[in-house]
């Protein structure tokens, strides 16, 4: 098993990072970069893809940020291992889909991962728990600056960084936040929010990006446009026009629900707590929605803040790939539900009884 050490180590998302925050679970920036004079991965022949992979690996290995990191070639990984990396947000679904000569280098703290031969030659991503793009930008800019001295990126003054799809042209940057929005979901306001965000030229997606659904009331908001604005302008607009207002609306929705239907909210959270501690068959969708409610329980003061880290970790570790990998084999779906329920019983048993008085 190639990725075991990665899973055992402290990782930004599962234990190493600062504890997440109410509403904003994590923030991420990714940059798309391509080598000049080479076919983009989707068009490149097998031999070209191999050359690109080794040229990029060599350059990435020189980055101080990637020292003691993990270098993985997707060809060497089982389907299950790939799935686990997707569930941990270390690689994209597209990279996991099995095109030859694809690779990823993951930093020691697992906050940074650099994918090779995804849609573009390089996809650099930095992901941190909580809210804030400033530090992330500093880290990713330093990485990009260094890589620029080692590789000839395709760049023109007019169009900026050239990318396989024109939707990424210019900065090649996508900034996103993962938001926990149970208030807006319960109040049935999400559709309205998604429409408003779309109209600002930003995108709302489910937990795993394109095409995924939003179980657990977790949504990803990102910029759509990459050309015609600087990186700082894109981040500022995302921050002020979209994220800020969504956070505000989520807070209002929660306040309103707690005021108008306090019993309903407490009942939902209480039941989620009971089921997680006592259930024997849990699908990942069900587990996700109960854990999401426990997270809301922390925000409401029913559960101590110290549980936020463990609950966010469980949101990742109860997913199908993780459950199967922990069981050391690929197991049938109902066996998975049993194993998941066992994990969640053990892990949530230590959460003290909910304090509804606060």
């Amino acid at each position: 098993m190639t990725i075991k050490p990665l899973l055992d180590a402290n990782a930004e998302l599962t234990s190493g990072g600062a504890p997440g925050e109410p509403i904003v679970m994590s923030s991420r920036i990714r940059l798309a970069r391509n080598l000049d004079g080479r076919a983009f991965p989707g068009w490149a022949k097998k031999a070209q893809r191999r050359e690109i992979l080794s040229a990029c690996e060599k350059a990435v290995a020189q980055l101080p940020q990637m020292q003691n990191g993990t270098v993985l070639r997707l060809d060497d990984l089982s389907e299950l291992e790939r799935q686990v990396l997707v569930e941990r947000h270390l690689i994209s679904r597209e990279l996991s889909q099995g095109e030859p000569s694809a690779g990823v280098i993951i930093s020691r703290d697992q906050a940074c991962s650099i994918m090779i031969n995804e849609e573009d030659h390089l996809r650099i991503q930095v992901l941190r728990t909580g809210h804030g793009f400033d530090d992330i930008w500093k880290v990713i800019e330093a990485i990009d600056n260094r890589l620029e001295t080692l590789l000839d990126f395709a760049f023109t003054a007019q169009l900026g960084y050239l990318t396989a799809c024109p939707t990424n042209l210019g900065t090649g940057m996508r900034a996103s936040v993962m938001l926990h929005l149970p208030g807006l979901v319960m109040a049935n306001h999400m559709e309205k929010v998604i429409r408003a965000v779309n109209q600002m030229g930003m995108v709302v997606r489910g937990l795993f990006g394109e095409g995924s659904d939003a179980t657990g009331s977790i949504f990803q908001i990102s910029n759509q446009q990459t050309l015609g604005e600087s990186e700082q302008e894109i981040i500022a607009r995302l921050e002020h026009e979209a994220i800020g207002s969504i956070i505000e609306q989520e807070k209002n929705a929660r306040a309103l629900l707690l005021e108008s239907k306090p019993e309903k909210i407490r009942d939902k959270i209480g039941r989620a707590y009971g089921i997680l501690q006592n259930g024997h068959l849990l699908s990942s969708a069900e587990a996700m929605s109960h854990l999401s409610l426990l997270r809301l329980g922390i925000d409401c003061g029913f559960i101590a803040e110290s549980w936020r880290g463990p609950i966010d970790r469980l949101l990742i570790e109860m997913q199908p790939g993780h459950i199967q990998l922990a069981a050391h084999e690929s197991i049938e779906s109902d066996m998975r539900d049993t194993a998941r329920a066992r994990l969640l019983r053990e892990e949530t048993r230590r959460i003290p009884p909910l304090d509804f008085e606060t």
Binding site: D144, G160, L162, A164, M200, G206
Partner: protein, 173 residues
């Protein structure tokens, strides 16, 4: 009675009408049931009009843009038809080869049609220097061939000077 619209892709009766505001401009697409399904338009979360436009040149550049085009990228052999099929270009040079197709698309897709963000100065300097060196080397060879030794000496001096500027940086630890 409103006039009936036809699908931007296949020309059948359009029943799905999409509007998104991109860059303060209202963008509209009309599609038939089948094309809408196929393009994933019915998924309210994953869908964005800009992505869609990238993959549907006809919707932005007119229905003849692909059919009547004999364009091909001299560097990688990619054609507008390939671009339409995959939504991806073949290589960086495609942007120049398909400039007339891509330009109108960018306005619908982005906030502007030119880059105002980060510029890789070190890279541009390095690449510029390399090009200048290659050019001088050609000129030098040519001058020697023509037995214009005075010119050759001048090119050689310029070349030496440029080369001293482009010292490879010390290898990383």
């Amino acid at each position: 009675m409103g006039e009936s619209l036809v699908c931007d892709i296949c020309g059948k009766l359009a029943t799905v009408h999409l509007t998104q505001i991109i860059n303060n401009q209202i963008q509209k697409v009309d599609l038939c049931e089948e094309c809408a399904q196929q393009k994933g338009v019915t998924d309210p979360e994953g869908f964005s009009l800009a992505d869609f436009m990238a993959k549907n040149i006809e919707a932005t550049a007119g229905p003849d843009a692909v059919a009547g085009s004999s364009l091909v990228c001299p560097s990688c052999g990619c054609t507008p038809r390939d671009f339409k099929r995959t939504g991806r270009l073949g290589c960086p040079e495609c942007y120049e080869a398909f400039d007339s197709l891509i330009k109108p698309m960018l306005k619908n897709m982005h906030r502007g049609d030119h880059h105002t963000g980060k510029v890789p100065h070190e890279l541009l300097h390095r690449v510029g220097l390399r090009k200048a060196i290659n050019r001088l080397q050609d000129q030098l060879a040519h001058a020697v061939e023509q037995e214009k030794y005075e010119d050759a000496a001048r090119y050689r001096d310029e070349l030496d000077q440029l080369k001293s500027q482009s010292q490879p940086e010390p290898p990383a630890r």
